[in-house]
Symmetry: C2
């Protein structure tokens, strides 16, 4: 959110050799990682920027530029070593030491997230489920027992990621609780603008926003074809 802080001096650590990785690049690293896993399972040992870009759904120049921000891990004339690149990207994303994920709000969406297998595969899995509703406390979902939201401080450890899947009205309160418990990275599914202190990273996923964006494009296309028909 405040990119200027990304560039502040603090990271002149002893043996660091790389500059800051641009935000747009970070957002694509998970895509490359996923594509690489598929390639590895297919038995590929190396991959060209062209092929990996294709698998990840981006242009090859973009891919090379992105990877160049992590360092020079390719071999000219050959391509990238799949296993090595998986390791480099995983390291960059901090996926070595599985950080814990706590999910607050076990409604429809929370349940779906808890049961979603996509996380587990790659170093990320939900470790705790919490809810404010006593009626849900004790229920077992995807192998985890739902705890009352008051136990938040006990289930949070350093480096935990918080996921908010509560109704909009409860979201800010839950967010404050997460921050108070020391969480500095939050993913919000509630359709509301949350406020967090400096130093806390907040991302949001808003389903109806996505649909409205598509609605815009659909609307525009309809207008275009109507205009085309009248021309």
């Amino acid at each position: 959110m405040d990119p200027s802080r990304l560039a502040t001096g603090a990271l002149r650590a002893p043996g660091r050799r790389r500059a800051n990785v641009p935000e747009a690049t970070v957002a694509r690293l998970p895509l490359y990682l996923r594509a690489l896993h598929v390639l590895a399972e297919d038995g590929h040992q190396t991959v060209s920027s062209e092929a990996l870009a294709e698998a990840a759904g981006v242009g090859s120049a973009k891919l090379r530029k992105d990877l160049s921000h992590l360092g020079s891990y390719g071999t000219r004339g050959v391509g990238y070593d799949v296993t090595n690149l998986v390791e480099q990207i995983s390291a960059e994303l901090g996926l070595e030491h599985r950080c814990s994920i706590v999910l607050v709000g076990v409604g429809n969406l929370g349940r779906a997230l808890a049961g979603y297998g996509g996380f587990a595969s790659r170093g990320l899995a939900i470790d705790a489920l919490l809810d404010a509703d006593q009626g849900r406390v004790g229920e077992v979902i995807a192998g985890l027992t739902v705890q009352h939201v008051e136990h938040l401080p006990q289930v949070v450890s350093t480096g935990s990621i918080g996921v908010i899947a509560t109704p909009a009205l409860a979201a800010q309160e839950v967010c404050d609780l997460l921050v108070a418990a020391g969480v500095t990275s939050i993913l919000n599914f509630a359709p509301i603008v949350l406020t967090v202190p400096d130093g806390v990273d907040l991302r949001k996923v808003d389903l109806s926003v996505e649909l409205q964006i598509l609605s815009f494009h659909e609307h525009r296309k309809a207008a275009l074809t109507a205009a085309g028909a009248s021309a």
Copy 2:
């Protein structure tokens, strides 16, 4: 994806007065709309760019620039008329004529999406549920009966938006079916890269990608504090 196409000649329609709205602006219009609805319910008749920006979680300069792309709907010295602005943005997003939404894949996530109230409130609601699993066909979720995916052509109408909530392996096939049925706007929740023909808009929501991005920031913060401690 290909911004150049957005700027092609085709839209020189007779009475058009506005230029193209930038993609980044489109992505924020739904946020403004939501904030405006809240303000309207609170009884506000007008709102300043400062106040609306605050409510939407953006800067006021950005908000004004965004709204200026839609036209001049504010009054200097006063602000924006809430009701009017809601109408203008709704029109821009094409939320007048409720376009139908068909959701394919009624697993955990699909169920959650079907039951999610967030859509219904604002011109967008799911109209049909489909699944490839005969065991799920006939089930009633959120007032809708699940139909077999073969009925897709019958439930799709012009301007429909397709939502894919199937497992990754089925997603491309379902996507192809949607495209064949005439859908030109698709929202994909499956963790896989989909290929669509030109002219079809594709957006994706990937939960594990979001978590991995947060993991990166968490990791970076940890590295920073470690470096800070050693300094």
